[in-house]
Symmetry: C2
Subunit: 109 residues, 2 copies
């Protein structure tokens, strides 16, 4: 019997309350991250694994984009077996930056 | 009598109605431009010449920042003698991206 494969470290998160405005704006000012946020907004919490998004970037770049979204208080992640699942921190982010998510979810790219 | 010195070309402008969301977010996701926008918001239209802002950048960089703000539909400029005067396009920008200016003018850096 082999030992279970070690999981990668759990992801670091930043609560929206501790996110500077410039960090939030920069995180959203990118077409790939905007797409991720919009797809998450259309999905139930924890429904989407990182690999399930329709974005034209490789695995390393995607991982970087998710790190940026976590650091901006936009996304929370947890590992479930081999999958890393995501949810949009909609309520917390709205409380910190009222109207910003509504705007980016409403407007065209 | 010498001929009057030729003026530089009048600046190009983009109306907010034609500005993509990502362009608007990128324009605001910069500390120098955020400062320019905030100082303009606290000044009357056409009151502020480009050289009157308290930002830690040189003339060429400042000129580039203003070009970015014009392209994002945030700032309108006109030349008056040797000065280039500015106004924040608050109403037009608000109509295109409701709440975004309010948010960046309200939040801390």
């Amino acid at each position: 019997m082999t030992a279970p494969r070690a999981h990668r470290a759990a992801p670091d998160h930043t609560h929206p309350d501790h996110v500077p405005l410039l960090t939030a704006l920069s995180a959203l000012a990118d077409p790939v991250r905007l797409r991720l946020v919009r797809e998450l907004a259309g999905s139930a919490d924890w429904d989407r694994a990182c690999g399930s998004f329709d974005v034209p970037v490789g695995k390393a770049a995607l991982s970087h984009h998710f790190a940026t979204l976590r650091a901006a208080g936009l996304v929370e992640q947890r590992d479930a077996g081999p999958k890393r699942l995501n949810r949009l921190r909609r309520a917390e982010f709205d409380a910190r930056f009222p109207g910003l998510l509504d705007l980016v979810l409403r407007a065209e790219p």
